[in-house]
């Protein structure tokens, strides 16, 4: 049971990082990025490459993954979205563009895994990092590292958004881009930042993911549902929504499916994503703005003075 709880927390931590990027780019650019999960899988492959070719432990390669992920996020914005935004493309067209970009990234990941296999003479289309994990006072490294990543990200974002001039400009641009522009803020810079951060966080999450589960190039298609569910349940219009939604979806998916498997047998474990899908559908039907869009949340915000 304890392993299930640890797995649920680790998965939730990674979902928070992935959903944070999705929410930020949605708020600043207005596009739900369907390639978010592919960012994570590319992060997994970056970590694998550094492990195989530079013998760098995946936890130690996190700063490199962060920067390369950020560059991937920027490339996505520049290559897939900006040309369409310039032509005043509709939100539907932009969504389709991210889907197309996702397919391109999937193709590149598949081809790259084959290339890496030919270089290392090992099968790299399916891999895990579990054998590389450490333990600290009985706690697995993946739990400590993923929790630290979330803590550092939230702390960093808090300091940035509330204590710096650029952060306040970022919040202003998220709320009302045209007014922000009237204040002399370069709204485009805030978009670039959010795409950089989105890619960076997703790739970092992706480099920890192989400590939790097997990775294949198609893994992104399984986890994209959970990322969207986390963002939507928490609220796509609020950064903290990703934090709340990430834990609700991550823990529900893991623990609820585990409890069901006790009664219905292990066969139900493969249907864990149904939980996320259901929660997402119910949220969209009942309260599309998610938890952070409720009156109760506004009261909490006032109480916390956020």
């Amino acid at each position: 049971m304890i392993d299930v709880v640890i797995g649920a927390i680790v998965w939730s931590n990674l979902l928070v990082l992935l959903a944070l990027g999705l929410t930020m780019t949605y708020i600043t650019t207005g596009v739900p990025n369907f390639a978010q999960a592919s960012f994570a899988i590319i992060g997994s492959y970056i970590a694998l490459t550094l492990l195989r070719l530079a013998e760098l432990h995946p936890y130690l390669s996190l700063p490199v993954t962060f920067i390369l992920g950020g560059i991937l996020g920027l490339l996505t914005y520049y290559l897939a979205l900006k040309p369409l935004i310039k032509r005043k493309a509709s939100i539907e067209m932009l969504m389709i563009a991210t889907l197309a970009w996702d397919l391109i990234l999937f193709g590149i990941t598949g081809a790259y895994s084959e290339l890496l296999s030919s270089i290392t003479k090992k099968t790299e289309t399916l891999f895990v990092f579990t054998y590389l994990d450490f333990e600290f006072y009985g706690l697995p490294g993946r739990l400590i590292v993923s929790s630290l990543l979330v803590l550092l990200t939230i702390l960093g974002l808090y300091l940035l958004l509330y204590k710096t001039k650029f952060g306040i400009a970022l919040r202003a641009s998220m709320e009302n881009p045209s007014l922000a522009e009237a204040m002399g803020i370069n709204v485009e810079n805030t978009r670039l930042f959010s795409w950089f951060l989105s890619g960076a966080l997703a790739c970092m999450a992706g480099s920890v993911l192989p400590f939790l589960q097997e990775i294949v190039p198609q893994t992104g298609y399984f986890i994209i549902v959970s990322i969207f569910a986390a963002s939507i349940v928490g609220g796509l219009y609020h950064i903290l929504g990703a934090l709340i939604g990430g834990y609700i979806i991550g823990i529900s998916e893991s623990l609820f499916t585990y409890v069901l498997s006790i009664f219905l047998g292990p066969g139900v474990l493969v249907y864990s994503k149904v939980i996320s899908l259901l929660m997402m559908i119910v949220t969209i039907l009942i309260h599309p703005k998610g938890i952070t869009g409720t009156e109760l949340w506004r009261k909490v915000e006032r109480w916390l003075n956020l």
Partner: protein
């Protein structure tokens, strides 16, 4: 200060304004009145670069700014305060003031914020409150204070007293006069509260169906037959 000649503008293919000629003299309050849908607000947006301009020119302090983007106009000392969404509701009053001075140096921002708070002392006690929790009057004052932080020379206000009580509306009108008299700011406003706005104004314009039907002294507009016909309901002058 600003001179508009033969301006034709609108949104996409929908033309709203036709051959607008208008002049805002420096140091005077200019008010535009007109019935709903006459293009008053669209005109203000056109001045600030938020509409599609088909032809005509906008000259500001001798420079052609017809197609200058909004953020550049901000740097030139033009501030536009829309009727709604003119402050960031998720930011505190202090943050709104800080972000208003985004293009200024850090030391200068503090100096300008202190100056804005001297003009609007009502904001001093609510600096840490979110703008979204302010009353309509407080929000309007905050919006005007942000314009002061930005070193505004021409302040464009779209219905600044909309949805305010008569007492608060009077307070806002008094502040507009104070901005002109004490801080050399030239206000240009659109108002539904036409009679009261024209009483404090030097120059008045009246728009009907996207065209200027009057331009001249504000007091004379109050007695003009078109104004009486549209705003005071005096019949027999012209169909409404």
């Amino acid at each position: 200060m600003i001179k508009v000649e033969k301006l034709n503008s609108g949104y996409g293919k929908l033309q709203i304004l036709f051959d607008i000629d208008l002049e805002v003299p420096k140091g005077e309050i200019t008010t535009i009145v007109g019935p709903n849908g006459s293009g008053k607000s669209t005109f203000l947006k056109s001045l600030f670069g938020l509409t599609d301009i088909y032809s005509g020119s906008i000259i500001y302090e001798g420079k052609d700014i017809t197609y200058t983007p909004p953020h550049e106009k901000t740097k030139m000392g033009i501030s536009y305060l829309p009727q709604t969404n003119n402050v960031f509701t998720n930011l505190t009053v202090r943050e709104n003031l800080r972000i208003a001075g985004y293009i200024l140096e850090r030391d200068e921002v503090e100096e300008r914020i202190n100056f804005a708070l001297e003009v609007f002392p009502e904001l001093k006690d609510i600096l840490d409150r979110k703008a979204g929790s302010l009353s309509g009057g407080q929000r309007q004052m905050l919006a005007m204070a942000t314009a002061l932080v930005r070193k505004t020379k021409l302040l464009i206000l779209d219905e600044p007293t909309a949805q305010l009580s008569p007492k608060l509306a009077q307070l806002i009108f008094d502040k507009i006069v104070e901005l002109r008299d004490s801080y050399s700011i030239t206000p240009l406003l659109v108002e539904q509260n036409a009679k009261r706005a024209l009483e404090i104004s030097d120059i008045g314009y009246m728009f009907v169906s996207g065209r200027v039907v009057y331009g001249g002294p504000a007091k004379a507009l109050l007695n003009h037959e078109k104004f009486q016909s549209y705003f005071l309901g005096i019949v027999g002058v012209e169909e409404c």
